[in-house]
């Protein structure tokens, strides 16, 4: 019995309507171990966690808890067995006290009534055991988000949790609060509890975790001890790259771009964009006809930078200039009027209007130009739609087909056409080829290249290093909300990008990157 690991999952498989989310993944957690789970988008982290904690049923594989085979039917089931998840959003009752929240559903009773005195005393003892200075009688809502999270952990521990799963626990915490969390984790560890820790921040992994399991595209890449594992190797594992043989020549960008002649005034210049912990003095510049790549792991601030430039999120500080003019960016509308366009990362949540036709989706941004006295010219609309459906090779039954019925690649082409038909000066592409088939991918890459050659400035965010290396004249690398490197010309290689993603430190002079182009 004691030689068995605390939790063992073997060959876990999960299929969602024909799509394999997890494919034969193994995972083991020892007693008193803090084990991190990492992977980029679509790696299967959250699916694995949900199977571990009973939110999903597995389609294949085996799970053992302390050597006993288990099959959790619900989160409650898992909780009873001692596997507890604490999510980013704490699901507790804000108007009830800390003690009530901890014992919700299992209140100590005396003669059929809740034994309030004992409940408070038990809660106080439990919080003390975790080294937390929280009043058990305080309403949960009066605590800050960090302490609420601690209460959620305490609730888990009160179930006699053997396994605690923390899903991005620090995403909304300040540094001091993070240190409280670390303290609690160390106490759990000392008591022999196993902790599964998910975070995008490498510093945290190396601080609190013992081992790391890497997933990619639903498959297990491997499990490693963090001590002695170089960051660069970890990034390579996450991205599926070999350090020695980084491939070249697999995208439709063809040969690497030669850096175009630098201009005195770049087309677009962003300076010192700052927003909480998400963006920390981010500066960059893009010239006419230039494709600037942006690299970084999930959560590094890439999308946040794009949204800030586009006016979709308000920044606390910083400015954006287009052709030397400072833009007033309060809404995306302001950016669009100035000639900016933004192909967002999440097609489904922020791109398509699912119930509308290809025609309406394609012309949505261009409507003001097609409208006279409020009435849309169906003829002009049809002309544009026909032209761009042909030019981009959009495959749909006809322009009246609903966009949600199209394949991902065709949806993406429609969204790209939505911007191109407005003839923008500057185009931001956030993961332009994610989740689409190889054919459409190549077509989109070739099109972007062609557009840049005709003078369009492009900022291309991508997780695909080949795409960045072959498509970009320069590559800006982000980490923890900062620009940590800018690579140009011959410096651009997958190896250099990965190094910067893993180990780069903030460029001390935030405007340095911009000055170099001047």
């Amino acid at each position: 019995m004691t030689s068995e690991p605390l939790l063992r999952m073997a060959g876990i498989t999960k299929v969602f309507s024909g799509v394999t989310a997890l494919d034969g993944v193994d995972f083991t957690l020892e007693r008193g171990e803090v084990h991190s789970l990492v992977g980029e988008n679509g790696a299967g982290k959250s699916t694995l966690i949900k199977i571990m904690t009973g939110a999903y049923r597995r389609d294949g594989g085996q799970v053992w808890l302390e050597g006993q085979p288990v099959d959790f039917r619900s989160p409650e089931d898992a909780q009873r067995a001692g596997v507890v998840a604490v999510y980013q959003e704490v699901n507790l009752l804000a108007y009830r006290t800390v003690a009530e929240n901890i014992y919700l559903g299992r209140e100590p009773r005396r003669m059929g009534l809740i034994d309030w005195k004992r409940m408070r005393a038990d809660a106080a003892a439990l919080l003390g055991r975790l080294g937390l200075d929280i009043d058990p009688g305080a309403p949960l809502g009066s605590l800050n988000i960090a302490l609420r999270q601690m209460v959620a952990i305490a609730r888990g521990v009160s179930f006699g949790a053997k396994v605690v799963v923390l899903d991005e626990p620090t995403s909304s915490l300040t540094e001091h609060e993070v240190s409280i969390l670390y303290d609690v984790i160390r106490r759990l560890k000392a008591e022999g509890t196993g902790v599964v820790y998910i975070s995008h921040r490498f510093d945290e992994l190396y601080t609190v975790c013992d081992r790391v399991t890497i997933l990619r595209d639903g498959k297990l890449v491997g499990t490693r001890a963090l001590a002695g594992l170089e960051r660069i190797d970890l990034v390579c594992l996450m991205l599926g790259k070999q350090r020695e043989e980084l491939r070249q020549g697999t995208t439709a960008f063809g040969a690497q771009h030669t850096a175009r002649a630098a201009e005195d005034v770049p087309l677009l210049r962003a300076e010192n964009l700052t927003r909480g912990r998400k963006l920390d003095h981010v500066s960059l510049a893009v010239g006419r006809g230039e494709i600037v790549g942006m690299a970084g792991l999930l959560g590094s601030g890439r999308t946040e930078t794009a949204r800030a430039i586009f006016g979709a999120d308000q920044v606390e500080a910083g400015q954006v200039q287009l052709e030397g003019q400072t833009l007033k960016l309060r809404t995306p509308n302001d950016a669009i009027d100035a000639g900016l366009a933004f192909l967002s990362e999440d097609r489904k949540a922020e791109g398509i209007i699912p119930e509308l036709s290809v025609r309406e989706n394609l012309t949505l941004a261009a409507l003001p130009a097609l409208t006279k006295l409020g009435v849309v010219s169906r003829q002009k609309q049809n002309e544009i739609v026909a032209r761009y459906m042909k030019r981009l090779g959009i495959k749909a039954a006809n322009a009246d087909q609903k966009i949600r019925e199209l394949s991902g690649g065709n949806q993406q082409k429609v969204l790209l056409a939505r911007w191109l038909c407005k003839h923008p000066k500057f185009l931001i592409l956030d993961e332009p080829t994610r989740g689409i088939d190889v054919g459409a991918k190549g077509e989109i890459q070739a099109l972007v290249n062609e557009l840049a050659e005709s003078g369009l400035g492009v900022l291309m965010i991508s997780s695909e290093l080949e795409e960045l290396v072959e498509g970009s004249a320069r590559v800006v690398v982000m980490r923890d909300g900062q620009c940590v490197a800018e690579l140009r010309g011959a410096e651009i290689s997958q190896d250099a990008i990965i190094h910067a993603m893993a180990e780069g430190s903030a460029t001390t002079d935030a405007s340095g990157a911009v000055d170099e182009t001047a």
Partner: protein, 327 residues
């Protein structure tokens, strides 16, 4: 089993192809079929159903509901709801009644301005302060009725003798009642707006995916405020029609519970409460179904209570047909 139906974010890239477009209109076609069925059954079973006067009555009775429900359709298409319409009718009615002395034109204009203003305020609160539509318009429902009663001297019935104003609710254009003409014009205009204008597309886009619409440069705030303003305007118009029909303003009764009839008409007609799609013609059909049930039960001497039960069943069936197919 239910878990297996869930779509994981990881699986978002590849989705099974959806149903055909035709199936999406099923609720509206279903409503139309139900209307035709009701018509045939009544034509056979209900004496005097095929009488011209009967049709005229049905249209007369349904007109105010259709006016209100047309505005409601736009509001619901953006994913919102407007509970205040009945109270707005009462306000418009009271304002018109007390200002008739200054001329029919002035009275109508004032009433419509007030009604539109209430709608605009609803929209501004909903969009600007991100308060839920149901809460904002519930507050307007309560306040509006109160204000209407204050305007009409504590909710007294205000009768008037003004043939020109009464024409709106009692007159005829040839064989067709004026209020039916108004209803047809409003429905036709709304269909045109939804099909041909950029505004109609923005309404559908905002309801279909607000985040995407915003990133595509759609002025989301403006669009939302506009639909509530229109809903207010049309409720005001309905209030005027009712007032003209009665030749009196009754601030306590005008438009009472009409929001529920309007929402029912919209839902039965095939506009989903989740927004993103609007069918004005469906709403007209929905309102006609509800009215025809009431009328035919009346004509057959069946208790009014039974027609309520049948209507409730129809609403449930309509919502069942429209339920999301995939989680």
């Amino acid at each position: 089993m239910a878990d297996a139906m869930k779509i994981d974010p990881a699986a978002g890239g590849a989705r099974a192809r959806g149903r055909t477009s035709l199936a999406d209109y099923a609720p509206t076609y279903g409503a139309l079929a139900a209307l035709v069925l009701l018509f045939i059954v009544n034509a056979v079973a209900t004496p005097n159903f095929l009488d011209v006067n009967n049709f005229r009555n049905i249209l007369l009775q349904v007109a105010p509901t259709v006016l209100v429900a047309t505005g409601m359709t736009l509001v619901i298409a953006t994913g919102g709801i407007d509970l205040s319409v009945g109270s707005v009718m009462a306000m418009a009615s009271a304002v018109a009644a007390v200002s008739l002395g200054r001329g029919v034109g002035v009275a109508i204009l004032l009433a419509l301005v007030v009604a539109t203003a209430v709608g605009t305020l609803n929209g501004a609160l909903i969009s600007g302060f991100r308060i839920q539509p149901i809460i904002v318009t519930l507050a307007s429902l309560i306040t509006g009725r109160g204000v209407a009663q204050v305007i009409s001297n504590g909710g007294q019935l205000i009768p008037f003798d003004n043939p020109r104003f009464a024409w709106l609710g009692q007159g005829y254009l040839g064989p067709v009642p004026v209020q039916v003409v108004v209803m047809v014009l409003v429905v036709a205009l709304a269909i045109f707006v939804m099909r041909a204008t950029s505004f109609g597309r923005y309404v559908a886009a905002v309801g279909g995916n607000e985040a995407a619409a915003r990133l595509a440069g759609v002025r989301v705030h403006r669009t939302k405020i506009a639909v509530y303003a229109l809903s207010g305007l049309l409720a005001g118009l309905a209030g005027l029609v009712e007032t003209a029909r009665l030749s009196a303003s009754d601030a306590q009764k005008v438009g009472l519970n009409i929001e529920l009839d309007a929402i029912a008409a919209v839902v039965v007609g095939g506009t989903p409460l989740t927004g993103g799609r609007a069918t004005v013609i469906g709403t007209l059909i929905g309102a006609l179904i509800m009215q025809m049930i009431t009328t035919s039960f009346n004509m057959n001497g069946v208790s009014f209570s039974w027609s309520l039960v049948i209507k409730a069943a129809i609403i449930v069936i309509a919502v069942y047909i429209q339920r999301p197919k995939v989680a």
